[in-house]
């Protein structure tokens, strides 16, 4: 009850958070129910009506094969959110564990984890993602792995820094003398306190992950045509911008931008929700 009240408070206090939450819910609903509601089959081509501008029938126009851009943008939501979400959760979980252990135990654990992360960070991240997908094969699964790996260092670093500071705080010592084991300290005392900054990272990363997935598809790695995905759609539409058929690239691009924007704004709201100190 109190939690719900708090969430309501956070939402009403900050209109930007409120807006981003609404937008987020809209994306989630679109991802879940969108494929059931779309007016056209996203894969059905209709060459006679290729490259029609937006109209009452085709809200976002049609592409070079006469497919309805609106339907394709809607259907793509599920795939893009799925890739981003799974990748982010994966890197959140692995990154938190690695970072927390490094931050708590320090010494050799810290050194080994630190150098491992530095190695990842040493590559230009997008190039690394390209290399991973190219090496492992062109599948959605591999885009998820690639995205997770390049995001890993960010979580691990935030977790390490937070845990490292918190482990010396008096309440951790107090918990230690009341009989908690080190694992319990780390999992139930320290980590929950590291959550607020982690949540900000999580939300920011959702945006990056979507951009990354779309970027990989844009350059031809990852999702393959004719599957609908924002990155591919922008890539395909890019050929027609010069000849004046702007809608093919613009709409998926705009939705992509909106999604990234939404997740970036969501971060602050999530932090406020997870931090009870904001409850007053």
């Amino acid at each position: 009850m109190k939690n719900l009240k708090h969430i309501k408070y956070v939402l009403t206090e900050n209109p930007i958070t409120f807006g981003s939450v609404i937008l987020f819910l809209l994306f989630i609903l679109t991802a879940i129910f969108g494929p059931l509601l779309i007016p056209f089959d996203p894969l059905a081509s209709d060459t006679e009506n290729a490259l029609n501008p937006p109209s009452a029938l085709h809200w976002f126009g049609t592409d070079q094969l006469g497919r309805d851009v609106f339907s394709r943008v809607v259907v793509a939501t599920r795939l893009d959110l799925f890739i981003a979400l799974v990748a982010v959760i994966l890197s959140f979980v692995v990154g938190s564990i690695l970072g927390s252990l490094a931050g708590y135990y320090g010494g050799w654990t810290d050194r080994i984890v630190g150098r491992f992360l530095d190695t990842i960070m040493a590559f230009p991240l997008f190039v690394l993602a390209m290399a991973i997908v190219a090496a492992l094969g062109n599948t959605i699964e591999n885009i998820v792995y690639a995205t997770a790996i390049i995001n890993l260092p960010f979580y691990a670093r935030v977790a390490r820094a937070e845990v490292n500071v918190l482990r010396n705080s008096p309440f951790v010592e107090a918990a230690l003398v009341s009989g908690n084991s080190h694992m319990k300290l780390l999992c139930f005392q320290i980590f929950p306190n590291a959550m607020p900054p982690m949540m900000v990272q999580l939300s920011l990363n959702m945006g990056w992950a979507i951009l990354n997935a779309a970027g990989l598809s844009f350059i031809g790695l990852g999702v393959k045509p004719p599957d609908a995905e924002w990155g591919i759609m922008v890539a395909e539409g890019a050929n027609y911008i010069i000849s004046g058929e702007w809608w093919v690239a613009l709409f998926p691009g705009a939705v992509l931008m909106l999604a990234v924007f939404c997740f970036n704004l969501l971060g602050d709201g999530l932090r406020d929700i997870f931090d009870p100190r904001k409850r007053s």
């Binding site: 109190k2 705080s169 008096p170 309440f171 010592e173 107090a174 918990a175 230690l176 003398v177 009341s178 009989g179 908690n180 084991s181 139930f188 005392q189 929950p192 306190n193 959550m195 931090d275 009870p276 100190r277 409850r279 007053s280």
Partner: protein, 326 residues
């Protein structure tokens, strides 16, 4: 009741630092009887908190126990496995800290934090847990515990937080409570309340209390016996009355004159000259010799002498006999 609850024998602890070894505690011996309230008094860096950390075995890795025994109810705590220590901490020996607000988890309601410790140490059903937590809040005289249960540390005053800490510390009825400067950072009236609470609870639960403080007058007010520490040595152990009537160590004397009293004039307060010796570089037989006005060759050249003046009063000074007669 011949075996004291806590009996520390000849305990020495060295901290290994990059600059060298620091002998933080040297040959510490003292005991606490069941139900007794004992104060460890000394200035910052005298080894009070290290002693407490050693009892609970929470010294950090740099701190090494060179020799000695910490007998608790007849068993040597230093021989226990880390796993077994988890059952000692919080159940047999608990500790409260200075700055109570920082010693509570900032993102967990105080009620939940009390429940955590009760759950950890006792077979309690989920339903009973809430009642136990409320009861614990009640024992430390917190008003409207049902309301406080849901509050977070930042919503409570410092004194209230310390009450919660005490509630947590005594929730499992430990036989020893270590209070590490429990009133630092609280205002004077709250200080008195907290000390009274600790005193009442230790009597009620037949709990021994080790009070760590730099405030000699507070120690005198609440404790049966006082242990005076200086730079990792125990310089004097005595019953409170005896210590005030007949202080034998020059440091104790200085401490007493440096404490403002109701009768005395503020101008009469004397400072203790000098600082604690740098244990990293200086190896002294008597670690007070640099600051002592009575120092002579005997003090500098011979190992520290512990003299038992009476069964309840011992002092670590070569010139104790002279001081007693003086």
């Amino acid at each position: 009741m011949n075996v004291p609850l806590l009996d520390i024998k000849d305990l020495s602890i060295t901290f290994k630092t990059r600059q060298g070894n620091v002998p933080a505690l040297e040959n510490i011996s003292f005991h606490i009887k069941k139900g007794e309230t004992v104060a460890v008094v000394g200035e910052s860096g005298s080894g009070k908190s290290v002693t407490a950390a050693a009892i609970l075995r929470i010294l950090d890795k740099a701190g090494q126990i060179d020799h000695g025994k910490i007998m608790f109810s007849g068993m040597n705590l230093l021989e226990f496995s880390e796993r077994y220590m988890l059952n000692i901490r919080g159940r047999e020996i608990s500790m409260i800290f200075q700055n109570p607000r920082a010693a509570l988890n900032p993102i967990r309601s105080v009620g939940k934090q009390i429940e955590d410790i009760i759950r950890m140490h006792g077979p309690v059903t989920k339903k009973n847990l809430y009642e136990h937590a409320i009861a614990a809040l009640n024992t430390v005289n917190i008003s409207s515990p049902e309301h406080r249960y849901h509050q977070y540390p930042f919503e409570l005053s410092g004194g209230m937080c310390q009450r919660v800490m005490i509630a947590m510390a005594i929730s499992c009825r430990p036989s020893l409570l270590i209070a590490d400067e429990p009133t630092t950072g609280l205002d004077v009236t709250t200080q008195a309340n907290i000390m009274e609470l600790i005193k009442t609870k230790s009597t009620e639960l037949h709990m021994s209390t080790l009070l760590i403080t730099h405030d000699l007058s507070m120690a005198a007010q609440y404790c049966d016996r006082i242990i005076v520490m200086h730079a990792g040595h125990i310089v004097e152990i005595s019953t409170t009355d005896d210590l005030y009537k007949n202080p034998l160590h020059p440091y104790t004397k200085k401490l007493i004159t440096a404490t403002p009293s109701e009768r005395g004039n503020v101008d009469d307060i004397e400072f203790i000259p000098g600082n604690l010796p740098n244990l990293l570089t200086e190896s002294l037989n008597c670690r007070f010799s640099n600051r002592c006005e009575f120092v002579d060759e005997k003090c500098v050249n011979n190992k520290l002498l512990y003299t038992e003046v009476s069964p309840t009063h011992s002092v670590a000074c070569w010139r104790a006999e002279e001081n007693a007669t003086a």
